[in-house]
Each structure stands twice: as structure tokens, then as C-alpha cells.
């Protein structure tokens, strides 16, 4: 179809081009800029007026000659061609093949912006995913269809963690499992690491790569291509899709750059006031839909600028996603892998996907107790720094020992270790047994009898309340002794 070509670039400002005297342009439609050298750059009409159109150019405006460049309006929004043959392919940040295997032919074309899922059509996610990491499985359980971001910092092993989750997730054994990976402004080396470790798992991988030196504005489109592909795989082809997008911070920075060049009124830290809505339009595409077989589980990765969790990017993300996995520089420095800090981490969906009939009946109370106890460890640590560890009473010392063992053996695991949920829960009970029973307020009296066995190792500061025979005997004994002494 021949489209009318126009000239008339009036103004160029950063990635924004203003065109004048053009009619019949639809809001948000795709614009092609034809350069003298035959190069075609894609843009999007971001504001449409009576006599002017504002176009955002994905590849940037460098080298654009206002007098000679021509413009073509396609009358369509940004779209992606889809067919089952996208599996195993690699695309650039704007969905163009990068692997030299030619274009995708398919009669399915989708608007990359997608449409909101009717909340009525959703199915509440409840299927547990065993990731093989004790911390995640017991304390912030990943559920199929969940959006659970990894909040990380520069230099922390978030990529390795994401790759390991993708490869260890039990879902992988299923034939109908696929990974969609989008690299947004990531380093070449990181991209290569992702590609090589994930592609070992066969062809069920789709890649969208916008690398650190690729055009910045393109980053706004990349996650949308990836998610549209994921929706197709999940809801058209019935696959269980894991979407990994890294780094959301680069995405938000691109959004900010565009917003500033459009002259919009900024809100916190210069980010546009619609940052929340914009991020939601990505994150909310995860889920399970009734009557459809597949699902989209979404693991966005973001690096917190200066490790600050209150920065707008992690902050707004946390308000939309169903929890977060927070990595800690301190644990990393102490050689704990994965360096997941349990206390600020959270999975909002775990409460309905664990326990009897899902994982194990003791799971909810164990995880709640571990959180409570580990948070107590932090308080005691702070106290020990002031008064010295020697001054602590026996109960507090027991907590410190618990904390140490918890971080080393429970949070920390070998780099290829894949633990079963049963294993992780048993390990939790062994750790909890190091604490005085009076401190186990989250465990019901019933469970305490069942799981904390009397024959377990004696603890420092043993409690008189333990119904075991041996400790109960000792005060009696000492009583006798003192009587005998008299």
C-alpha cells in the first residue's frame, strides 16, 4: 500500500520532531521518517493538533535533515507480527529480527500497548513455583502468574539469580514453558551471559535486546514488544511464560528523558507524573486468565539508584507488583549467595499458594516465625554492637547463633544448589529449634509439639516449659542437691 509522503519538519528537539501542516494523523500512530540515505526511522505521534503533530523518534534525531527528510504516516499503532516461529528468535528493541533468520510471517499482528485485562476475567494465581532457593520458596514464594521484581543494586548478582530461577523453576520440565527475555539498556556482556545460559535450555526462548549503546527512546517500546509476545505465547498458544525484563531503571530513565524533552511538568526526581500508570501498563500484563491455559509470570529486574528503595522507580514498582525480592549489599559482601534480604522482601500472593494442599501445612507459620525471629536478630545485633556480645543474656545469644546459621545455611546456598521445598522447610525447623520455645509465638502450641522434637539438641537457655523429661528433671535435681547440702 502506497502511503503519502510528507515533508515539513518544523522543529527538532532531542528525540522530538514537530511536523506542520499535516492532516488525518491518529494519536499514537506509527510514523516513518525516511532519510536521504534510504534509512527509515520509526516514530510515534505523541501529540496531535490542528496544524502540528509531535512525533517521538525511537532511534533519535541525529542526522535528520529537516528540509529533505520525508515523513510517512502508517495509520497504525506500534505492532508486532506473531507466530509460533518467534520461539528461539532474537529481536532488537523495536521487534526487528537481529539473528539474520528473516522476518516473522504470521497473520497475527498485535498492538504492542496491549489492552487491560478485565479483572473479572482473571484467575487468582495460586500455583506454587519451586525456585530451588530456600529464601524465596519459604519466605517469599513465587506463584505462577505473579509479578515479582528483583530490587537490586549495581554489582549485585541479580542476573545470575534471575537465570537460576528461570532454569530451576520446576515449570521448566513442562513442554509448554517459554522464557521471554527483554534487555533494556543492558551491557553487551550481561546480554551475552543471559543468552548463553538461557539458550542451553533449547528453543523456547524469545529475546528482545536493546543494549546500552542502542537508542534510548527505543527502550520505551522494548518491554511492550516482549510482553505482547508473551501474551501471545501464553494466551493464544497456552504456554506458561516467564518474562524477565532488565533493567527497569533504564526504562524509567528513558521515559524521563522523553518527558523532559516534551516539556512536561515533572514530579519526584524529574520523573513524569504518569510514571506509576506507565509502569502499571507493563506490570499488570502478568497474570492468569480464566479459560486460557497459559500464564505470564513476570520477574522485572531493577537496580536501585544508590541502593535507595525510596527512589521513585523501586517505590512505584513496589506499589504495583505483588511483592519484591530485595538484594542486600551487606549479605553479598559477606559472601552469601543469593544475597536476598528477607525482611524487606515480600510475596503478596504466597498466602494463598502455600500451606495444606499447596506446599506443606506448616509452611505459613514457619515463614511467619522465621521473619519474626530474624527481625529480632537485627535488634539484638544492634544492641550487641553497643553493649558487647558478652553482655547479652542466654536467650539473646541463642538468637545471634540462629541469625548466623540462618544467613549461612538457609539464605546462603551453593551456586548450583537446587533445594526442594520440603528440604527447605525441614531446614527451617532445625533452625527454629535453636531458639527458646517461648520466643516461638507464631507457631501454634500444636505445631510446636509436632515439629520441635524433644530429642533435639539442647539449647542455651533451655526453657522450663519444654515438656521433655531431661530439662524438667534438672531443676528438681539441683533442688535435691541444695537440700542435701543443708
Amino acid at each position: 500500500m502506497a502511503l503519502t509522503e510528507y515533508t515539513g519538519i518544523e522543529k527538532i528537539n532531542g528525540p522530538i520532531v514537530i511536523l506542520r501542516g499535516i492532516e488525518g494523523v491518529g494519536y499514537d500512530e506509527v510514523v516513518e521518517l525516511l532519510m536521504d540515505d534510504g534509512d527509515v526511522r520509526l516514530g510515534r505521534a505523541v501529540m496531535v493538533g490542528r496544524d502540528a503533530v509531535m512525533v517521538q523518534v525511537f532511534a533519535g534525531t541525529e542526522g535528520l535533515v529537516p528540509a529533505t527528510s520525508r515523513v510517512r504516516f502508517t495509520g497504525r499503532p506500534l505492532e508486532i507480527a506473531l507466530s509460533p516461529s518467534i520461539l528461539g528468535r532474537t529481536f532488537d528493541g523495536l521487534g526487528r529480527p537481529l539473528d539474520g533468520s528473516g522476518p516473522i510471517y504470521g497473520n497475527t499482528r498485535r498492538n504492542v500497548n496491549g489492552a487491560p485485562i478485565n479483572p473479572m476475567a482473571r484467575v487468582y494465581p495460586r500455583d506454587f513455583i519451586n525456585t530451588g532457593f530456600s529464601t524465596i520458596d519459604v519466605l517469599m514464594t513465587l506463584i505462577r502468574g505473579q509479578k515479582l521484581p528483583i530490587f537490586s543494586g549495581n554489582g549485585l548478582p541479580h542476573n545470575r539469580l534471575a537465570i537460576q530461577i528461570a532454569s530451576q523453576a520446576r515449570l521448566l520440565r513442562a513442554e509448554n514453558f517459554a522464557v521471554v527475555f527483554a534487555g533494556v539498556g543492558i551491557k553487551h556482556d550481561d546480554a551475552a551471559a543471559f543468552v548463553s545460559s538461557l539458550s542451553r535450555r533449547g528453543s523456547n526462548l524469545v529475546l528482545f535486546l536493546n543494549l546500552a549503546d542502542d537508542p534510548v527512546i527505543e527502550r520505551i517500546a522494548t518491554p511492550r514488544y516482549a510482553l505482547t509476545a508473551a501474551e501471545y505465547l501464553a494466551f493464544d498458544l497456552g504456554m506458561h511464560v516467564l518474562v524477565i525484563i532488565t533493567d527497569i531503571t533504564s526504562y524509567c530513565e528513558a521515559l524521563r528523558e522523553l518527558s523532559v524533552s516534551r516539556g512536561e511538568i515533572p514530579s519526584r526526581k524529574g520523573y513524569p507524573s504518569y510514571l506509576y500508570s506507565d509502569l502499571a501498563s507493563l506490570y499488570e500484563r502478568a497474570g492468569v486468565i480464566s479459560g486460557k491455559e497459559g500464564s505470564i509470570t513476570f520477574l522485572p529486574i531493577l537496580t536501585m539508584p544508590n541502593d535507595d528503595i525510596t527512589n521513585p522507580v523501586p517505590d512505584q514498582t513496589g506499589f504495583i507488583t505483588e511483592g519484591q525480592i530485595v538484594l542486600s549489599r551487606e549479605l553479598d559482601a559477606r559472601g552469601v549467595y543469593p544475597p536476598i534480604d528477607p525482611l524487606p522482601s515480600l510475596s503478596r500472593l504466597m498466602k494463598d499458594g502455600i500451606g495444606k494442599g499447596y506446599t506443606r501445612e506448616d509452611h505459613p507459620s514457619v515463614s511467619s516465625q522465621l521473619f519474626a525471629s530474624y527481625s529480632r536478630v537485627q535488634e539484638i545485633k544492634a544492641l550487641a554492637e553497643v553493649v558487647g556480645a558478652d553482655e547479652l543474656d542466654d536467650d539473646d545469644k541463642a538468637f545471634l547463633a540462629f541469625g548466623e546459621a540462618f544467613e549461612k545455611t538457609f539464605v546462603g546456598q551453593a551456586k548450583d544448589e537446587d533445594r526442594d521445598i520440603g528440604q527447605s522447610l525441614d531446614m527451617s525447623w532445625r533452625l527454629l529449634a535453636m531458639l527458646p520455645t517461648s520466643a516461638l509465638t507464631r507457631i501454634s502450641l500444636e505445631d510446636m509439639e509436632k515439629y520441635i522434637k524433644p530429642n533435639q539438641q539442647p539449647r542455651p537457655g533451655g526453657e522450663p516449659s519444654t515438656n521433655a523429661a531431661a530439662p524438667a528433671a534438672s531443676p528438681a535435681l539441683s533442688g535435691e542437691n541444695s537440700a542435701a547440702l543443708k
Binding site: 492532516e23 488525518g24 494523523v25 491518529g26 494519536y27 499514537d28 501529540m47 496531535v48 493538533g49 490542528r50 499503532p77 500497548n113 489492552a115 487491560p116 485485562i117 478485565n118 479483572p119 473479572m120 476475567a121 482473571r122 484467575v123 487468582y124 494466551f235 512536561e264 511538568i265 519526584r268 513524569p272 504518569y274 506509576y276 500508570s277 502499571a280 501498563s281 499488570e284 480464566s290 525510596t310 521513585p312 517505590d315 512505584q316 513496589g318 506499589f319 505483588e322 525482611l343 524487606p344 515480600l346 503478596r348 494463598d352 511467619s368 521473619f371 519474626a372 527481625s375 544492634a382 553497643v386 553493649v387 553482655e391 547479652l392 520455645t437 517461648s438 509465638t441 501454634s444 502450641l445
Partner: protein
């Protein structure tokens, strides 16, 4: 209701033209005959919008749907009325979006993903209802009075109300039977002789508060089944509360708990700019949960309004108004309504986003200068009132606030505080330790405590006020004791203060914490008072012992204390278990006291250690 639009289409059609599109904000010209805030259909797709600004022939429209593909020159059609919601039986048990479209019927029409340009009334006009007239021919009726009752659910009897402004004599009323929503229920002859039909449904502009006869003092509590709320920071029926908290502190779980267990007759739950799965959870969970008061499924008293974070932002702004209008509708029938708005921050941010697109000069952090006014207008629509039908009814509003970065000094939290009377501050460190509900006992407050005291004394426990004061005093003292402990450790403290810390820790684990995923999810106020009293009794008795010189370590080792920590696991109606534990606690303390005295005498007799 369709008259006005009909006139327009036949006579002089009101059609404007689009001149600019900027996301959800559209400029148009040719609007001189349109009204400010008039509802319009934008473009060939007939997207729903509302006029926000007018200047001469030009105007600015906010569009409630995605504007992709819209072109300059496309038409704008006026609908002759402001943004309104269709009120009638069939709202309860259903889920509608921010501008009142039924999401269940939209799904039947469009599938799993939301499409654009579809208009549907929130209620099904063809549904047949069982109607019982409650007036007879010749009765004189006025606006807001009930003329018939419709069985909407097992729990809710919908009352057909005479529209505001209509007064006269009933000339016709339907006999008992089944009628469709769209049918005329009665005809009223006005003084001027004109006969006006009364339908089962009517439209009401969402931004206009519905009138009532008289405002009353909110002196009855809204029982929520949450100990920390009912016992320490109660809210009245007709009260307004805010729950601020950073992400992950449990705003939504608390809101869900209130929607489940509060003793309101009708619950309106607004998911404003929040997660889709949270609405799905309510939709899946509520039909199978029992209302603790009526033993019927909770869904039979619940209305959901969903404008999730990925749905159009302008409709998010409208959803709060749609919700409160529906709440007022049921209030006018004489019901106690509780409305949860999760989250009001998203609404404020929608205001900010639209204000930014309109090019308005921002006040604080980009929010428009009228933010405080809008918040005040909204919260003032709550209250306990006497209706025109002479019934006492109320709307309690509980708004979640999501402060950016968890910072309570940001504009939305700060302004909200001015217009609410009950503040349940969520604390991130409590949430990190999974102490839920993470409502801080230090930062929260309730101005209703005094107003509802009499009710509690009459209906629950004559000592409620005193117990509450004592509990708060211990927790407050513990707060400063904890600061010392953090600096110097517990050993340096005298036993009196360590006892405070011990009692406070009992209160925290046995009273303040409540597991929303167990049988403890709903705690009747009687059980809450029982737990409180048991801990305070222990405290008083232990305090005497400590004052007499009994070392705290002896008291701390009592094995009954472990049971006391778990006392919330006791069934609410198992009075015997509570009495038994209370008795054993008392006896154990007495034994400790006696043994210590005996020991002391023994020690004193052989050696006189002191020189």
C-alpha cells in the same frame, strides 16, 4: 432520562470537533452550546469523556478511555447530562468500572481484554425483580421516600425512592409481583397537576452529594473484628479513617479485612489504581465467605468498583465519585454503608496527571492546588444522617493512602489527615517482622474513642474505656523502655520497667497481632476485651509482686505465659478456656509470691549476710 439526548439529536445536534489530542486530554471546538462537566462521546469510536474547561467556543475534555488512533476533526457529541451513575437494584454482588460499566457483562461482550467505546448500564435493565409496594394510592410522598421494596439479595432489600424534587400524591402504584428494572413502579401527581412516573432506577450525577434530612453525631462504633482497631483506635459508623503506609505494609489486606468483617449492611469496595489480582481475589473469595452477622455469603452485601492501575487514568479519577454515590444511594435507603477506597493516593495522582496535561500551575510535588479541596469534599460525603425516609443511616469511609517512599509528610497524607478523624498508621518495621496488622500503636489515633465509649460500656464491657487507657499507657511506656533497651540492654533496667516490656510484648503477640488467614481473622469485641483484661490482670498482679521485691525472672519463667502468648488461638465462644487460663495465671502468681516469701525467710534465718 433519555429525553434530553433525544431532543438534541432531532433538533439542533450538539456536535463539536476535535482540535488536539494529548493522551487522555482532548481539545475540541464548537462546544458553545455544551455545558461545563457535560458528558460527551468523543470521536467515531464514541469514547466516553467529560468537559473540564470551556473558553468561548473551545473546550478541554478528559477521556475515560484510551485515545489511540483518535484524529483531529473527529466529532464530539454532547449527552446533555453530567457524568452520572445509574442507580437501581442489581448493583450488589457485581463489579463495575470507574465510570459505572459492568465488568461482568463487558466480559461477555468483549472477552478477557477491555475494549473501547462500549457503553452499558451498570445494572441489567431486563432483570426481573420481586417488588412489594410500601405505599398506597393517595399517600403523599416526597423526594427520598420509599414507595416500594425490591428483593435485591437475601440480605438487602432495595427501596425504590422518590426522586429528589418530586413531591405529590401517589396516583398509581404497582401491585406486588415481578417487574423488570426498566418498568414504572408508581406515578405521582404533583401539586401543579403534572403526573410524573417513578422508575425502579434513576440516574445521579456522581460529583453531586445526595441530600439528607439531618446530620447526626457518629456515636456508634463500626465493629471491624480487628482487635487493634476495635479496642484501641475505634471508628464510628459514619466515621472517616485513613490507612497510610508504604508498599508491603498491608493496606490492602487491612482493607479486605474491613470489607469482610465490619458490621456494615452494605460494603462498597473501590480498587482505585491498584492491582487487578486484588479485585479477582475479592471476587473469588467473598462469595464463599460468610458474613459473621447474617451467615450469608459476603458477596450479597458487597459492591466492587474496579479501576485497576492499567485501566485509563481519567476513569480512576471518576471511580471514587462513582463509589461514594452508590454508597449514598444505599444510605438513603436506610443502611449503614462502609466504603473502602484503595487507594486515595492513586486518585490524587490521577488528578495530578490530568492537571499536568491541562498545563495547570502545580502546587506541592506537582499536585494541583485544589487537591486539599477535593479531598475535603470527598471525605465530607461520609457521616451518620437521618434520611428523608426518616431512617438513621451512615457512610463510613476508610481510605488507604500510599505515600511515595513511605513518607507521611507528602501532600496526600498530610492533607488527608486534616479531614479524617481516625488515623491507622502502618509501620514498615512491624510489617518486616510480619507483625500484622502493622498498625502502629504509637502513631495511630482515633477521635471517636470518646464518642463510642458509652456504646461499648452498654453493649460489650463496662470497663472498656478504662482497659483501653491502661493498655495504651503500658504501650506508651514500653516505647520509651524499648529505647533504653536498644541503647543499653535490658539488664540495666529495674524490674518495674522490665515488667512493662514483658506485658507490652504479651500485648503485642497476644492482642495486637491478628492472623487474617486463620480462625482469628474475625475477633468479636468481647473476645478482644477478654484478652486485654487477662493480660492487664496479670500485669497488675505481677506489678505488686515486683514491688514487693520478687525478681521478674521468677515471673517470666511461668509456663502459663506461653499459653497467654497464644491466647488469641482460643475460640471466641470458649469462655471456659479463658476463665481457666485466667485462674491458673492468678494462682501461679500467688504461688510464686508465697514461695518467694518462704525462700526469703529461709535465706534470712541461717546467715545475716549484711553486716
Amino acid at each position: 432520562m433519555t429525553n434530553k439526548t433525544g431532543d438534541n439529536e432531532i433538533g439542533n445536534p450538539k456536535i463539536g470537533k476535535i482540535t488536539m489530542i494529548n493522551g487522555p486530554v482532548v481539545n475540541a471546538t464548537g462546544l458553545s452550546s455544551f455545558a461545563m462537566r457535560e458528558l460527551v462521546q468523543v470521536g467515531e469510536l464514541k469514547l466516553t469523556g467529560e468537559i473540564l474547561q470551556m473558553s468561548g467556543d473551545d473546550g478541554v475534555i478528559q477521556v475515560y478511555e484510551d485515545t489511540t488512533g483518535l484524529q483531529v476533526g473527529e466529532p464530539v457529541r454532547g449527552l446533555g447530562r453530567p457524568l452520572s451513575v445509574c442507580l437501581g437494584p442489581g448493583l450488589i454482588g457485581h463489579i463495575i468500572d470507574g465510570i459505572g460499566r459492568p465488568l461482568d457483562r463487558l466480559m461477555e461482550k468483549e472477552g478477557a481484554f477491555l475494549d473501547r467505546g462500549t457503553t452499558l448500564d451498570p445494572i441489567d435493565m431486563d432483570h426481573s425483580w420481586e417488588v412489594t409496594p410500601t405505599c398506597k394510592v393517595g399517600d403523599v410522598v416526597g423526594g427520598g421516600m420509599a414507595i416500594a421494596s425490591v428483593k435485591e439479595t437475601d440480605l438487602i432489600e432495595n427501596r425504590v425512592l422518590v426522586p429528589q424534587g418530586l413531591e405529590g400524591e401517589v396516583e398509581f402504584i404497582v401491585p406486588p409481583g415481578f417487574y423488570r428494572t426498566s418498568e414504572v413502579m408508581a406515578r405521582v401527581r404533583r401539586v401543579d397537576g403534572r403526573v410524573v412516573p417513578v422508575y425502579m432506577f434513576h440516574f445521579w450525577p456522581v460529583r453531586r452529594p445526595r441530600p439528607y434530612k439531618e446530620r447526626l453525631l457518629p456515636d456508634e462504633p463500626l465493629i471491624t473484628g480487628q482487635r487493634v482497631i476495635d479496642g484501641l483506635f475505634p471508628i464510628s459508623r459514619g466515621g472517616v479513617a485513613a490507612i497510610p503506609g508504604g508498599f508491603g505494609t498491608g493496606k490492602t489486606v487491612t482493607q479486605h479485612q474491613l470489607a469482610k468483617w465490619s458490621n456494615a449492611k452494605v460494603v462498597v469496595y473501590i480498587g482505585c489504581g491498584e492491582r487487578g489480582n486484588e479485585m479477582t481475589q475479592v471476587l473469588e473469595e467473598f462469595p464463599s465467605l460468610e458474613d459473621p452477622y447474617s451467615k450469608k455469603p459476603l458477596m450479597q452485601r458487597t459492591i466492587l468498583i474496579a479501576n485497576t492501575s492499567n485501566m485509563p487514568v481519567a476513569a480512576r479519577e471518576a471511580s471514587i465519585y462513582t463509589g461514594i454515590t452508590i454508597a449514598e444511594y444505599y444510605r438513603d435507603m436506610g443502611y449503614d454503608v462502609a466504603m473502602m477506597a484503595d487507594s486515595t493516593s492513586r486518585w490524587a495522582e490521577a488528578l495530578r496527571e490530568l492537571s499536568g496535561r491541562l498545563g495547570e500551575i502545580p502546587a506541592e510535588e506537582g499536585f494541583p492546588a485544589y487537591l486539599a479541596t477535593r479531598l475535603a469534599e470527598f471525605y465530607e460525603r461520609a457521616g451518620k444522617v437521618r434520611t428523608f425516609g426518616d431512617r438513621t443511616a451512615s457512610i463510613s469511609v476508610i481510605g488507604a493512602v500510599s505515600p511515595a517512599g513511605g513518607d507521611f509528610t507528602e501532600p496526600v497524607t498530610r492533607h488527608t489527615r486534616r479531614f479524617i478523624r481516625c488515623f491507622w498508621a502502618l509501620d514498615a518495621s512491624l510489617a518486616h517482622a510480619r507483625h500484622f496488622p502493622a498498625i502502629s500503636w504509637m502513631d495511630s489515633y482515633s477521635e471517636y474513642a470518646d464518642e463510642v465509649k458509652d456504646w461499648y460500656h452498654r453493649n460489650v464491657d463496662a470497663e472498656w474505656g478504662a482497659l483501653r487507657e491502661e493498655t495504651r499507657a503500658i504501650l506508651a511506656e514500653d516505647d520509651s523502655v524499648q529505647q533504653t533497651i536498644r541503647l543499653m540492654g535490658e539488664d540495666v533496667l529495674p524490674d518495674e520497667q522490665r515488667l512493662i516490656a514483658l506485658t507490652a510484648s504479651l500485648l503485642k503477640s497476644a492482642y495486637l497481632q491478628q492472623n487474617s488467614f486463620s480462625d482469628d481473622s474475625f475477633c468479636p469485641p468481647e473476645k478482644g476485651v477478654r484478652i486485654m483484661r487477662m493480660i492487664l490482670d496479670f500485669h497488675r498482679q505481677a506489678k505488686v509482686l515486683v514491688a514487693e521485691g520478687c525478681p521478674l525472672s521468677l515471673i517470666r519463667k511461668m509456663k502459663e505465659l506461653v499459653e497467654l502468648t497464644h491466647v488469641r488461638e482460643f475460640a471466641a465462644d470458649d469462655g471456659a478456656a479463658f476463665d481457666d487460663l485466667g485462674k491458673r495465671l492468678k494462682e501461679r502468681l500467688e504461688v510464686i509470691g508465697r514461695e518467694r516469701l518462704a525462700g526469703e525467710q529461709q535465706e534470712e534465718t541461717p546467715v545475716g549476710e549484711k553486716g
